[in-house]
Amino acid sequence: MSEATLERGLNALKEVIDTPMALFFSSCTHCGMCATACLFYTETENPAYTPINKVEPLRRLWEQEYTLVGRIKKALGMSKPITDEELEEWKEYAYNACSLCGRCTMVCPVGNDITYMIRKMREGMAASGHTPEGLVGASTRAVEIGSPMGVKLPALQAQARHVEKDTGIDIPFDVEGAEYLMLMSSMEIMNYPEYLEAVSRIFHAAGKSWTISSEAFEATNSGIQIGSSDIARQLVSRVVNAAEKLKVKTVISPECGHAYTAIRWEGPNLIGRPFPFHVKHILEVLDEFRAEGLLKTEGFEDARMTFHDPCQLVRRGGVVQQPRNLLNMVATDFVEMKDHGIMNWCCGAGGGVSANEDAEELKMKAFNRKKHQLEELDGVETLVTACANCRIQIEEGLEENEIDMPVVGLTELLAEHLVEENKTEG
């Protein structure tokens, strides 16, 4: 039972500093423009939440360890060392006040990918034991129980039988050779059971084979949120082993944000080799079905609708047009938010903020940005999104601000209008 120490933290930071980061730290001119792109700053006006400030200890470490002048200054005792106290203070800036949403990265005039650096900063925070209580708990549960919210397989199996009863469609567990491996996020299993029903009906209608692995049904990855690649590797390896054992062609990341980033973008780099299978977000797959004519819908929603772009899916994931294509199949009055698409604002709960009790109040304050966005749209009745975490956050936010607006998952919405040939009753 080794323990977290400052040494291990600094060592972790030394491991992750690379050429892009050296370029970024050499380019920052303290112009402050990343602050106004970050909802944690705009809604609190706390200058400490300025994104580039969140990596100040990392910057000093780079300067002291990886530049000639920095090393000389350190040798002459002219440099300020990184201490536990400082990292403890930075826990609030790098975790509570950051959802890794990536907006600062899109705005920085000298092109610094600040999100990339905060994610790396968290590696050092995790190794040196300066991570929020909530995330430690979530990671422990994810590793030991299999899901950050403690969801076990029987709960999923119960939900599956429930869906089978309702739709008559068989939920395939551990089917070798299926084309798709379906992953679920605990949030969906616990809060949004309609998701499983929706995907099973859609896939059934599309005639596509899919399965759920009983060994690795959990999509979320607390390791990514807490910022420890080691823990993230442990979690993502389960998915990879299951997918390889079942010989699937594509792993589907469900309506969740960071899960997609964890599996598709960080997964291969965590385990050190390219995946023998594709990784796609559920919306990507549905859009393919749409294109191939396998997803037919009927009827339209008459309510005025808008779409909240989950950061990890759209800005950090590149799934930009698909949600629009799908939503336009069922919506006649679809209105885009002012800053939509890759520049949309975060809901305030991503990147581990929702699992972090210390950040509760801050999370709600950050939600005001999304509230202002909605207020700017006149007469919107329904908000559609594609991430369970965003959904809960927005529902809580709207409730707290007494705004009566239903929040709907896009996959569910499509299922409601699904055309099924041999619809069995019951």
Binding site: M1, E15, A127, S228
Partner: protein
Amino acid sequence: MADDRTLAEMLRAQGITRRGFLKFCATTASMMALSPAMVPKIAAALESARRPSVIWLSFQECTGCTESLTRSHSPSIEKLIFDVISLDHHHTLMAASGHAVDEALNEAMEENFGKYILIVDGSIPVGNPAYSTVSGISNLDMLEHAAKGAAAIVSVGTCAAYGGLPYAKPNPTGAVAVSDIIKDKPIINVPGCPPIPVVITGVLAQFLTFGKIPELDSLGRPKAFYGQNIHDRCYRRPFYERGQFAETFDDEGAKKGWCLFKLGCKGPVTYNACATTKWNEGTSWPVEAGHGCLGCSQPDFWDMGGFYNALSVPTVDLAKKAAVGIAAGAAIGVAAGALNRRKKAKAVSEHQTVTVDDLEKGA
């Protein structure tokens, strides 16, 4: 030798009418770059001026200044000035020679001790005094000896004022300026290589009329002649502003009389009266003749980075220096980079896998 008659009496003795004297004052005022309104004042001052005795010593020089001053090719107003001042000693101009010259010099010094003006042209070799001697006496000793009784010293020419050509790198003779040796006497520097004749006589006339040292700038030069920056008074300045430059001495721009900045003109850093007073009675001056100003009235004008390099061009080959920088930088850079990589590799090797159990301090 000294004549105690006033200047006015002398002129009248030569049959020059008052109107002639007024003309003399007008042209002298113009020479001294004073405003015409000053003529009555100058007339009054000139009238009562005493004829100062002048001793001219030539040291390490090319006689260019003397020729420029005396304008041996066509004497004019300066000749008149010469009639006015009693030039008691000048190696080149004196008819006498040999010991007679030395006696004349000592005699002139004793007689007007403390009153005569000492004019020096040429620099003084202190590296090895033997480089330049006059009848066996080194320039250094002669200067120190002559300076004792001088009321004021006028260093004529950049050599006397700042060391000039002999002083230019590598300065084999260890040449120095007058002001480097004589510290206790008022010194008026009249630099130029050579100085404009009118400027030399102008300074003398000014000293003669007002009897005191004219106002000097930081380099000891009379502001009347050296207060103006050539660049500011140059008639080609409008071309500089419009960015119209001659690129070579015979291109379209040169023919049209455009600015010669790119051909090395040192006008912007040079203070002299060439642009207005011009040379050869206002005929022309270097820039008007199509050649950039050399900055000859400035110290070290020989080492200003080449007569034909633009003023802004550095006097060292920066490309070569940059190459040195890159080479050294690359060497140090590769070493520093390697150090970084080793440090990073060491960190990676010492990586202790983080598990959920050791996420807390002292868990």
